[in-house]
Symmetry: C2
Subunit: 721 residues, 2 copies
């Protein structure tokens, strides 16, 4: 049914006006806001929402959707509604139902879609109408006839007669949602905890007009779903049709490029040069270093065919490049004069994990940088390992405003085949879990012995100088950085980007223009926005000016908030008069007017402040949640309080196993391990370089809190990603 | 045998001195130069070379190497020697022979290695000694006892008695290489043409002291081998153990990064944003666009296994990303307001070609950039196609100093699935072949129809707006650029880099220091070098200072010439006095002193001149070799003169087939198609935008020179890569 057809049909039902066009809207508030700028709309009307649900039913049964036509602000709880209708597991219907049965799509659902339903489906549909729409004194009811850029205002009677006019449609059922809500028992917190989790696993259809633009859950309420919605709806990332692989969209790739630029500068100063090695590895070479490959073998992807012919020997896609590169180190390093050899490559690697993939955090293909160096001495190598770790720390803290804890990995957690792994560990407050941020390895001589990377001892003299195996390092940082940043800073409105890595640092939005303003006034306002934008771009700032006149300011605010733009400048007619702009911080939503004359100093300063404050805030949270624990009894409870622990530890691998096992068993709950499972065991994240001063570890006295053996150092233990 | 053992053994044979240490050398000339700086060496001596050959023999037969001990400047032609000794196909022995039989390695071969040969091998060894070393009046003969940093001077008698002292070694055979050469018939040019070609396919062992540092063939003499040696020995690239894949080493990767930086800036101005799509494609998606995939199917690499388990559905590794990206274009483009959508990614793609791979030019995995855009109108799309092509032209001409011809591909040669392909075509003078440099495609609506990328017509009004399929473009440039640059500019001494893309633009080499100079003088000279380097770095120039005191200036010159460093500054004691430096251009070898006071202006200017001159020179060569051909008779002869042709052409696909077929048949020679085969047929490279003015194509009159149909335009035809 086209809108023309619809209108003419409505005309036969006592509707005499036509549809009003306006800005696209995605919430009832924005709808109201949009209509405010349209002339000729009724002085008084009721906004609505139309929801399509589906009960749980056998696959064989004909689909029986429930269409709910409700007042915009009525609470339409699907569980309560299901009970009321005697339907099991009422949920939002999915796209197929919208497309195939109602011939409509997300953002365009309305009661009028009932006119599109084929006869064979109509009979199974239940229609519910909110009493609040039928109550006396209700004048006009607003609906989107076709999409969210149009509105018709009809009388309740027109609605009901439309419903009656649909051939084969059962009589609608009026429901008082207010009563319904009031009658419901208060949900148990536990239940409340679980529900969103279940929902997270379902494909959710749309509330009228909301084209899935905003975030539908809270960060605290359903973190997993929140994260998924933030990364996708902010347009950082999109899901891909190969599971475990994701599309890194420009907003996220820009962050990565900022990291690349910073890190490339840092390693250039260390004398590291960029290069590129092939992605394919022959099994022979891949399996050269046994311990090393054991760590990766189960995750290696194999190419066995090219075109239509099988390869003589299957080829692995690099999971990392130690064994790819080191045979060539042996070839290139002929003398100690060829040392140090320092190279790095930016590439993607493939690790076919079978655990649940997660955008940025755990993906089967991911982008990273991997550095590989060979040194004459261990000391030289160790200095470099720490220099690189320091660069990683700075990337997290100075670019991403994410605090990290530096330290050494335990024997159990270190890099397979290496001697020691240093790491920067992040913390995700919402889940209380730690996350490995980046690692810098001292490989010792394991690989050089395996691949025979040797030089003559320069110290030795005479004809035959003894051979020395070189000391190697490798270090890597991946796009996981982006995921950590999102998890730490994001809020219920979406992404929050630190200014230094934000593709758009400032968005300028003209405000306060209504139908009462002239085009002249509008143009003056737009020009002012463009002037300010120009002024700021001259300073090298990254600025967007949102002059789309088919969207309301409110729509634009949510649009850019969702995308994490650090600073918004609002300019309205009044600001023009006052020669000022209103600044709104994304991180705190603090508003502050800035005089036009101060812009060039005030705005850059404000961005710096935001960058600084974001780190300070995140560090404060982390500091409060990293707890020194001195006896086992408090270990798991501390984890359950979403904290990480610092414990006096013996550093024995056996003990680490026990800690994981015991902390898992001792935990409450019997859920399978997943993102929210409190039953997950704890592992050592690192032995921090920065050890707590109080209480000190007294050699020979202080005991490991788990096994009672002598404690060597404080270790950071926690649940982790 | 250690050198100590060797010396004591030589002492028993009448040798009384010990070994002299000096700079490492890789040629006889450098050896002489090095010895000149060592005090206490004999006033008169003869330099030598020791070569180890191997005849063609059945696998089963015991290896029978031939050791040739010759005067440094004697011509030791292996073919003639083979004839003389009655041995078939005498070639340099490979590494295994050196390592396993002689217990020595490249750079360290000497007659004394015979002392290491196991008894069971000794009996099969033939030793040849150059008469010139045994002639009367020969005083001392110089050998490297262990490696090229040491020299012993022994009497001919000591050499012969050493040879006699080796248990089981047959008596050596004296040969007069001068006579041998004189007696040889002048080789037929054809034969001369062919020999290096065969050799190119063999692994070649080493002349004493030459650690495979220089280029052993001339660019004109054996282009294929020259190219292979230049890219590998300059350390731009290394061969990898997976055929068709190569390691892009820092020197080459730096060039690529310069290209990236330039291009990223260019596309940013066009509003293109960078992103990253997964490398894997499901067959379903890959095969969506039939014409398109037909072009790639035979070359697609398939992942079928992960860890030890087979994948449910095999996954292709992207050969290019049209079908990877466009399903998401359909998702992201909901309205004309989402247009234009402009994205680009830097990644590697895999095309498993079975033709001979060639470094940079044809590799199974290669680095490239691929841009993909969607526009509302064809005009918009076409403008972009040309904007990008212009950026490609500028990369070749302004960065790489390589002239290109811009034009449109023929129907036969255009991108599979697209509507029109624009291209920049390069020219390799040495082979007279064209090479596709980069392509920018107008895809029309083929893909948008296939993937349903549609928007509502913004022009149309009313409720139901007609759908428009978007107009798409895609464009790509790869690391092939680097290969073209090498082929065009390189010379017999190795790589020649344009200053703008050279990792090292200037190398400073201290000269003229001999044993006569004091350490004080040496330090003063070195300080001067470092001062100049510092001065130039301040200007943002990329400078190396080669103060290695274990290498001779001559060694350093070839080292940096091989690596293509555009400008060398020589500073010696005399220059210090004159307060000047000597500049030596890599492109012309022109030498010119520059006063220290002028350095900051003169050097940057000189680099600019080099950059400019390299393009001018290359363009002049190309212009002379692109010939207008007006009748078929001259077509193939022109190709055989290593030229490209501009011919009036009918633009019919059938005719293009015939041209390829006829030009191949008409050609001389019956060799199989390969890099040097003159029998290769010609194909159309492009229809140049810049058409010859004279003689003009007269519509209705001018005929296609091949088929006689009406000619539409001049087309660029030639043999190509």
């Amino acid at each position: 049914m086209s809108i023309a057809e619809l209108i003419s049909k409505l005309n036969t039902l006592g509707f005499s006006e036509s549809a009003f066009e306006h800005a696209a809207v995605d919430t009832v508030d924005q709808w109201a806001e949009a209509l405010a700028t349209v002339s000729g709309v009724p002085s008084d009307y009721v906004l609505t929402k139309t929801l399509i649900f589906k009960p749980k039913q056998p696959k064989s049964a004909p689909i029986a959707p429930v269409v709910v036509i409700a007042k915009g602000d009525s609470g339409t709880n699907s569980t309560l509604l299901g009970k009321e209708l005697g339907l099991k597991d009422l949920r939002f219907a999915n796209d197929d139902v919208l497309t195939n049965i109602f011939k409509t799509s997300k953002g365009s659902v309305s009661p009028f879609a009932l006119g599109n339903v084929p006869a064979e489906n109509v009979e199974h549909i239940k229609v519910v109408v909110d009493q609040a729409l039928l109550a006396d004194g209700v004048g006009k009811i607003a609906f989107h006839p076709l999409d969210s850029t149009r509105t018709v205002f009809i009388a309740p009677a027109t609605l009901t007669s439309f419903l009656e006019s649909v051939p084969g449609l059962a009589a609608f059922r009026p429901i008082d949602f207010e009563k319904l809500a009031a009658a419901a028992p208060a949900p148990k917190p536990a239940a409340a905890e679980k529900k969103p989790k279940k929902a997270a696993k379902k494909e959710v259809a749309e509330v009228v007009g909301s084209a899935k633009l905003g975030i539908e859950v809270t960060k605290e309420g359903d973190f997993a779903k929140w994260y998924q919605q933030v990364v996708t709806r902010s347009e950082m990332l999109d899901y891909y049709d190969v599971s475990g692989c994701y599309i890194v969209r420009p907003l996220a790739y820009f962050v990565w490029q900022q990291i690349q630029e910073f890190f490339d500068g840092g390693i250039r100063n260390l004398g590291v040069k960029n290069c590129y090695f092939p992605m394919f590895v022959s099994s022979r070479v891949l399996e050269r270093e046994k311990d090393h490959i054991e760590g990766f073998a189960p995750e290696v992807a194999w190419v066995t065919r090219a075109g239509s012919s099988d390869l003589a020997e299957p080829l692995a896609i690099r999971p990392t490049s130690e064994t790819v590169m080191y045979p060539y180190f042996a070839k290139w390093i002929q003398s100690y004069r060829d040392l140090p050899l320092k190279i790095n490559q930016w590439c993607s690697v493939v690790r076919w994990e079978f655990k649940n993939p997660q955008p940025f955090l755990r993906t089967r293909e991911f982008l990273w940088q991997e550095g590989h160096c060979a040194h004459l001495t261990k000391d030289e190598a160790m200095v470099e390992v720490r220099d690189i770790l320091e660069l990683y720390r700075r990337i997290y803290e100075e670019l991403l405003a994410v605090p990290v804890i530096e330290g050494v990995k335990s024997e159990k957690e270190k890099f397979a085949g290496g001697v020691a792994t240093t790491t920067v560990e992040g913390f995700i407050p919402t889940t209380g879990r730690g996350i490995q941020g980046g690692t810098s390895h001292y490989l010792g001589q394991n690989f050089s012995k395996m691949f025979n990377v040797v030089v003559e001892d320069p110290e030795a003299t005479g004809a035959e100088r003894p051979k020395l195996f070189v000391h190697q390092t490798s270090w890597g940082l991946s796009t996981r950085t982006i995921g950590v940043m999102v998890m730490v800073h994001g809020d219920d409105k979406g992404l929050v980007l630190p200014p230094r890595v934000a593709e758009t640092q400032i968005v300028i939005v003209p405000c306060g223009i209504t139908v009462k303003h002239t085009d002249e006034e509008r143009r003056k306002l737009y020009d002012a926005c463009l002037d300010v934008a120009h002024q700021l771009k001259q300073l090298g700032l990254r600025v967007e000016t949102d002059l789309r006149d088919n969207y309301t300011p409110g729509f634009k605010f949510s649009h850019w908030e969702l995308r994490g733009v650090p600073l918004r400048l609002e300019i309205g007619p009044k600001d023009l008069e006052k020669q000022s702009v209103l600044t709104v911080r994304r991180d705190t939503f603090a508003k502050q007017p800035v005089s036009r004359s101060d812009i060039e100093t005030a705005i850059p300063a404000l961005l710096e402040t935001i960058q600084k404050d974001m780190l300070v805030k995140a560090r404060k949270t982390m500091d409060e949640r990293v707890k020194i624990v001195l006896d086992w009894e408090n270990f798991v409870p501390t984890l359950n309080d979403k904290c990480l622990t610092l414990i006096p530890w013996c550093e024995r691998e056996e003990c680490e196993e026990q800690i994981k096992e015991r902390s898992s068993r001792d935990s409450l709950g019997d859920e399978p391990e997943d993102d929210k499972a409190p039953s997950m065991g704890a592992k050592s994240l690192c032995l921090p370089y920065n050890q707590p001063a109080e209480p000190p570890i007294v050699p020979g006295q202080t005991k490991c809190i788990q096994c009672g053996h002598e404690a060597k150092r404080y270790a950071l233990f926690g649940r982790s990603y």
